[in-house]
């Protein structure tokens, strides 16, 4: 390719781009643009946290503070309290009385999710939540606990899109026990409000020996737990 070959390339790209083809940039404008759309997000993206509940509506959090202890950014503040036996918040002895995450500090490392013994805290795929005050930056139980439909609460400044809020349960834990041969084919996570007990990822069933999903079809093609529906 000589000196002029480069001009031919940019000309071809220009013609294509002018016709609206081949454009790799997604037009993301917080829901205002005509062609507004975001890139698809990976299954296990670390986004804004949710506090999950069991299928009967009980909160999973037991106020053990392991998440606060493991948090490298020290952004989680938890205080546990004893359950009132007559009207328990969680099925155990204690529950998370105060639960706060400061998103000015959170680095979305997901260590709290790993630490949680009850899969109470997990992360959704939402990361587009730019708040405008420090008060808004601190999420309390009122914002974090999932609603009665099992879906995260959607705050006014958060830009939720389809698929951001689903499959935020313990299923996405990286250290879920199915890597252990003893647990192959067994569901290793608790049921969840709005979802019930989710089936294991295909390829980890007892019927089919474990294998990595084929690269060409990707993660999404397997087992119907892809995002976006």
């Amino acid at each position: 390719m000589g000196y002029l070959g480069g001009f031919a390339i940019t000309w071809r790209k220009f013609v294509k781009g002018f016709g609206g083809e081949d454009i790799v940039t997604n037009e993301y404008a917080a829901g205002t643009g005509k062609r507004d759309r975001k890139r698809d997000k990976p299954m296990r993206l670390h986004g804004r946290h949710v506090l999950n509940r069991y299928e009967d509506g009980m909160e999973k959090c037991i106020g053990c503070e392991l998440c606060a202890g493991v948090c490298p950014a020290k952004c989680i503040y938890v205080r546990g309290a004893d359950n009132d036996p007559a009207d328990p918040v969680s099925p155990g002895e204690r529950y998370g009385y105060i639960y706060e995450i400061n998103y000015l500090r959170c680095i979305h490392c997901d260590l709290c999710v790993e630490a949680c013994p009850t899969e109470a805290i997990t992360e959704s795929k939402l990361f587009e939540f730019s708040f405008t005050s420090r008060e808004d930056a601190i999420y309390t139980k009122a914002e974090l606990v999932v609603g009665d439909d099992g879906m995260p609460k959607k705050l006014p400044w958060e830009d939720w899109r389809e698929g951001d809020d689903v499959f935020t349960s313990g299923w996405v834990r990286a250290t879920a026990p199915q890597g252990d041969a003893d647990y192959v084919g067994r569901v290793g996570w608790s049921g969840e409000l709005g979802y019930g007990v989710r089936q294991p990822e295909q390829g980890q069933n007892a019927e089919t020996p474990y294998h990595r999903p084929v690269a060409s079809t990707g993660h999404d093609a397997h087992g119907g737990h892809g995002h976006g529906h």
Binding site: G6, F7, I9, T10, W11, K13, F14, K16, G17, F18, D22, I23, V24, T25, E27, A29, G33
Partner: protein, 399 residues
């Protein structure tokens, strides 16, 4: 000479002149705004991006939004800056950019008319000023513009801006020579310095009588390359090489002062494109037909803008395609390629002119000139090679 001033100056003439000043001013500003948007949009298309699309339809008001934002930004003045010069530099960059545009003929029917239009019963050219030294005026203004850049870097009291402005002055002085020699080719052919006269000289047949063809393409190409360098546009944007010099000569500038530099740069781009159109592509001349309004107003303006946009696109295309030259490559291209080529071509054209004038056989004169020029090029190459050998030898000795 503009027929507007032929019968003395009265109030109407003054008002028409003021109107022309206003129109030229507004036109240049709007064209500059358009150019900024145009460049961003075209570059985006070439790079698989979308480009500005939020402000107005297709983002066409993006420049306005940027300008408004810059207006309200804090105007910083560095501690070590030379205050007065620091404040003067942006003005020195912008004012010549405005003035240079005043000599461009924007319209008027040159094809079968005298290039004048009628405004309120007065015949006048569609150009703000037609000084007898038009092209020299442009060269002078673009040379003064260098002071803006040079003083900006100098007065910032910071090393990167200084490096940028030193590069700027070296580069612009180097390429001014090639630019001037290619302009000389045009002047040789048209026998006038007035831009209006240059356009009128090209007004005959479509394309064939344009200076692009008459001077044999080479001066136009040299002018385009040297003009790009003169504008400090990519691939000659060493002056503000972001990757090397933070931001170049305007690093320490903010707010409206920065905006002025930005504005001046794009105004110069518009002016340079307009000048190429004037010098080599016959300005507003082109096929005209139909009634008087179409003949002397609409079509010439249309042809002019079409050619203008063509060159604006070419400048953007350069930017989208070519990587920035290294400093020594820049100097090599300017001094060892463009200047000898422009000089040789000028001599060739002059030979043809003289031969025609004296009644010598043109082919023989051309052949002799070519032999001389090839010989000269050979000598130049030999000397360049000798110089390189000496340099390498010195490098070995002093390592």
């Amino acid at each position: 000479m503009d027929p507007l001033y032929a019968d003395g100056v009265d109030l109407a003439v003054v008002l028409i002149t003021l109107l022309k000043v206003l129109v030229a001013f507004v036109f240049l500003l709007v064209a500059t705004m358009f150019m900024v948007w145009f460049e961003r949009k075209i570059i985006a298309d070439m790079q698989h991006r979308i480009g500005p699309n939020r402000a107005g339809p297709w983002g066409i008001l993006q420049t306005l939004a940027d300008g408004t934002k810059l207006f309200f930004k804090e105007d910083l003045l560095p501690d070590k800056a030379d205050r007065r010069v620091f404040r003067l530099a942006p003005v020195l960059a912008v004012v010549p950019a405005f003035l240079a545009f005043s000599i461009i003929p924007l319209g008027g029917n040159f094809t079968d008319g005298d290039g004048t239009v009628s405004i309120f019963g007065h015949r006048t050219f569609l150009q703000l000023a037609d000084p007898p030294v038009g092209v020299l005026f442009f060269l002078a203004m673009s040379a003064i513009g260098v002071y803006g850049i040079m003083l900006a870097g100098w007065s910032s009291g910071s090393k990167y801006p200084l490096l940028g402005s030193v590069r700027a002055s070296a580069q612009i002085v180097s390429y001014e020579a090639a630019l001037g020699l290619s302009v000389a080719a045009v002047l040789l052919v048209t026998r006038t310095l007035s831009t209006n006269g240059i356009v009128a000289a090209q007004a005959g047949r479509f394309i064939v009588d344009w200076n692009l063809v008459v001077t044999g393409v080479v001066p136009a190409v040299i002018f385009l390359i040297a003009g790009t360098a003169e504008l400090n546009r990519p691939p000659f944007d060493l002056v503000e090489a972001e990757q090397e010099l933070v931001g170049g000569f305007n690093t320490e500038y903010s707010s409206i002062r920065f905006a002025l530099f930005f504005l001046a740069e794009f105004m110069n781009t518009v002016t340079m494109s307009a000048l190429i159109v004037t010098m080599f592509l016959g300005g507003p001349s082109g096929p005209v037909f139909g009634p008087e309004v179409l003949r002397s107003w609409f079509l010439p303006l249309f042809w002019f803008f079409l050619k203008l946009v063509l060159f604006l696109f070419a400048f953007v295309w350069f930017r989208g395609t070519l990587p920035r030259l290294r400093y020594d490559q820049l100097m090599d291209l300017g001094w060892k390629m463009l200047i000898p080529l422009a000089l040789g071509w000028l001599l060739l054209l002059a030979t043809i002119r003289v031969a025609q004038h004296e009644g010598w056989p043109v082919p023989i004169a051309m052949a002799i000139a070519l032999v001389v020029l090839v010989g000269a090029f050979g000598l130049l190459n030999l000397s360049l090679r000798a110089a390189r050998r000496n340099r390498e030898h010195e490098a070995e000795v002093y390592v």
